[in-house]
């Protein structure tokens, strides 16, 4: 396969970027999109040119490190997969493919296709955990979890934090990410003690960095884990409850 790539090149966070055009010849259809970029980078380096910076790690769709806009879609045209799981056979010989980094104020560009997703860590720090005694591992099945609850919590926990939801959202909102992380814990018995504090804190930190949800549903389609926007509705419901409950929980301190 021979393809033409238009890739966003930007030398640093505060530098002006531009699309650079690369001709990539003799690509195998079996190659993943990232392998194709590897090949291109090897050729660029051997020519003495600057390679394209992009994020990647596990290359099997479970780490959430990779992710770029390919032809205007987060993680490319194939639904339910990360960029590393996209193969060149999805494209046709002679195609021109445009590659752009995630664009959101909460994801500043580091270089080329690499963005800084620290803002997601800030959201997790606000409450994306449970507080437990450390020490010996607890006995298995000490806390019964109904099967359906475990399944639904796992659907939410499948979030790999890649940022495709923010990238795809016309509003640059991170509601799907935050809703997945909140519901993953709010659904489970272990998450109940901190449920209301978690919901209020995580939503409000999210709003410091990102836009607001207008229910387009683009995030759900961009998500490599196909996480449902139902979780966003549940987060909204829990947030309203949390605002009321947390006041009461403050008791006399309010």
């Amino acid at each position: 396969m021979n393809i033409t790539l238009q890739v966003w090149k930007q030398e640093g966070p505060d530098r002006a970027g531009r699309f650079a055009t690369y001709q990539v010849d003799d690509i195998e259809p079996e190659m993943s999109f990232l392998e194709m970029l590897d090949i291109l980078n090897e050729r660029l380096v051997s020519q003495g040119d600057d390679p394209i910076s992009f994020d990647h790690d596990c290359r099997e769709g479970i780490c959430g490190t990779c992710g770029v806009m390919i032809d205007g879609q987060a993680h490319g045209p194939q639904l339910g997969t990360a960029t590393c799981q996209l193969h060149m056979r999805k494209f046709r010989d002679g195609d021109t493919i445009t590659v752009e980094p995630w664009r959101a104020a909460g994801f500043p560009i580091v270089r080329d296709l690499v963005v800084d997703r620290t803002s997601f860590d800030r959201i997790i720090e606000a409450g994306g955990y449970i507080t437990v005694d450390t020490g010996a591992a607890p006995d298995a099945n000490l806390i019964p979890v109904p099967k359906d609850v475990a399944e639904t919590a796992f659907d939410a926990a499948a979030c790999i934090g890649c940022g495709a939801c923010v990238a795809a959202c016309p509003n640059g909102a991170a509601n799907l990410f935050t809703a997945a992380k909140i519901n993953h814990l709010n659904l489970l018995p272990q998450g109940q003690a901190e449920r209301w504090a978690r919901t209020e804190a995580m939503v409000e930190v999210m709003e410091e960095y990102f836009g607001s949800c207008t229910n387009h549903g683009e995030c759900e389609k961009a998500c490599p884990k196909e996480i449902s926007i139902d979780f966003i509705a549940w987060m909204n419901r829990d947030y309203v409850k949390a605002k009321v409950k947390n006041r009461r929980l403050m008791g006399q301190k309010a």
Binding site: Q6, R103, G106, A126, G211, S212, N215
Partner: protein, 243 residues
């Protein structure tokens, strides 16, 4: 997670709640429900244009007078109508303010837009034009109030007379440009509601596997019924069925 116990004194609950984007969306949804409720009542009222006269007085005029004296004599005349009007105006203002504030927030959330064309998968024409359909419809409302409620020239027909709703309605929609503007505005409202009447369920967290699919159906029916119900009487005037 010590935030709840250590946070300094908070603003009153409604203010504190409205400060968050999720809170604003909740307010948008609730005010949306109020506005949809009004729209349906208004549309049903308009259909009285098709009813025959009662003792030589158009049914529409009787209905209009009944609205003025709603719950009278339990409450003085006009009081109930004004309470409803104030409620509706507050709902509209909150809806518009929340939309404005969230739009600013969303602009800030993506200061540099994508430089290549986007390929949307799920976003509909309706969902992506909410701001436009809303703003244009709001402009139409100003004209509409001047035309029928207040009778301000030149928006209102020359023969406009307070209380003669049927005659004003007919005179109003015998002007083709006004009818065209009306049809466009109501169609935009329908497009707005196609997304809005679905979106409000999500914003309020009304989500259950048993009726999730019905939410889209409900939104489609609501927008369809409102558009048809609102357009029918003016078109009947424009095509000479109502005189």
């Amino acid at each position: 997670m010590t935030t709840t116990s250590q946070r300094p004194k908070k603003a009153p609950f409604p203010v504190e709640f409205y400060r968050s984007a999720v809170g604003k969306k909740w307010v948008m949804a609730v005010t949306g429900v109020i506005i949809i409720g009004f729209a349906i009542a208004h549309m049903l009222g308009n259909l009285k244009m098709f009813l025959p006269d009662v003792n030589g007085i158009p049914d529409m005029d009787i209905y209009a007078e009944a609205l003025r004296s709603l719950f009278s004599p339990i409450v003085p005349e006009h009081v109930m109508l004004w309470l409803l009007r104030v409620g509706l105006i507050v709902a509209f203002l909150l809806h518009v303010h929340a939309a404005y504030a969230l739009t600013i927030m969303n602009r800030r959330a993506r200061q540099t837009d994508y430089q290549a064309p986007r390929n949307y998968v799920a976003a509909t024409y309706a969902s992506r034009t909410m701001r436009w359909s809303g703003v244009i419809f709001f402009a139409f409302l100003a004209f509409h109030l001047a035309d029928f409620t207040l009778g301000i020239q030149p928006a209102a027909p020359e023969t406009w007379e307070h209380g003669r709703v049927y005659a004003n309605f007919v005179a109003g929609f015998q002007r083709p440009l006004v009818t065209a503007f009306y049809v466009i505005a109501v169609s935009l409202l329908g497009i707005h509601l196609y997304h809005g009447a679905w979106s409000m369920f999500q914003s309020m967290g009304v989500n259950h596997p048993k009726f999730n699919a019905a939410r889209r159906v409900a939104a489609t029916i609501i927008s369809g019924v409102i558009v048809i119900g609102f357009i029918a009487p003016p078109l009947a005037v424009a095509f000479g069925y109502l005189k």
